[in-house]
Amino acid sequence: MPGTFKRSPLKRPERPYIALGLEGSANKLGAGIIKHDSDGSTTVLSNVRHTYITPPGEGFLPQDTARHHRQWIHSVIKDSLKQAGVEIHDLDCICFTKGPGMGAPLQSVALVARTLALMFDKPLVGVNHCVGHIEMGRQITGAQNPVVLYVSGGNTQVIAYSQQRYRIFGETLDIAVGNCLDRFARVINLSNDPSPGYNIEQEAKKGKKLLPLPYTTKGMDLSLSGILSTTEAYTYDKRFSQTVEPSPESDTITPADLCFSLQETVFAMLVEITERAMAHIGSKEVLIVGGVGCNERLQDMMGIMARERGGNVFATDERFCIDNGIMIAQAGLLSYRMGSVTPLSETSCTQRFRTDQVHVAWRA
């Protein structure tokens, strides 16, 4: 309604609040410490991450990923405390990813969170991973009320805020866009260091041909598994060669051409469904969060669409768009300051946790 001003229910803190956030829903293990000061400012005190990187051609499996997290979590937490210059005694709460994500890795992190909470008598705050991405994106970029495109290896959603919920406007009907890109990177044996998505982006820059791929937006949603199958099928085509240089004149199909074609197609689809959501709610801002949000080509394409609509795109750098602990601390501390605490008996993790299940009490 015009003229209605909603005051944020989150009051300025009367003293500084400090929270530790622990993240481990996929192959990235993160610990971050955030401070909300009495002047209303938010400061990242530390953001430490260690990634489980598999050899080329291999993805990461739950048991191995959980083992990696168990091996690294103590040193990651200690580093984050040291860099922030705080001790566990100084924390107001311990935040951890409750879900969604992979079961065994999530549980490993939750066990440590619970143990620390009991050892130091600190409250626990279970956080939704997707809400963590959104809140960190809002904090870093200052975007007021954007349409959020959340794109990662595990999730692909178009989200808009309304009445204390992050509503899902559109999403993938099958696999996430990051999963599609990562699985194709495996097929062509790209390195997973620092991440398969980064290496696909670099490879795509060398591509010279746009090959026809199915374009599968489905209204507000999109489907990606068919595109992956078709792109993989091209590698069995007799024109495919791993060794030849990409060239627009010749008939050969190179991995670079396929990376380029795959990115252009899926990113165009993402831009379309984001634009559809923007048209629905009359928004001009787009905030891209999640690991795939690091991709500069996606940011560029989204920027072209946003500027045509008289708006702009917000994105964060790899410290914040790739899974990290600080986003869990941020979302957790906002929740904690509104009075929300997760009792110990409810600190189990869950692989399915919808973004719109969270009551966003800290916004009007």
Binding site: R70, H74, Q107, V112, T115, L116, L118, M119, F120, L344
Partner: protein
Amino acid sequence: MSEPTWHTVTVTIPLLSEEHARIAKQVLDVDRELQPHAVKRVLEVQGNNLIAKLSTLTIRLARLSTNAFLENIDLIVHTLDEFGTQ
């Protein structure tokens, strides 16, 4: 119909103190077993010891649940060690 036979494994983990054993029990008790009809886990604190009694319907489940329990208690003990002196 014959009664199902249960395979049992009892594991005793000595910790540094009764308080540590209680913390470990509280942390582990939060999560249910993935197949609660086929795997029963009961934890008990006796002095400084955490005692886990696992009853399973198959030998394979006995191996899996014991392995999972040991991995988890190892993680908790490491956490108590690494941060206990702070």
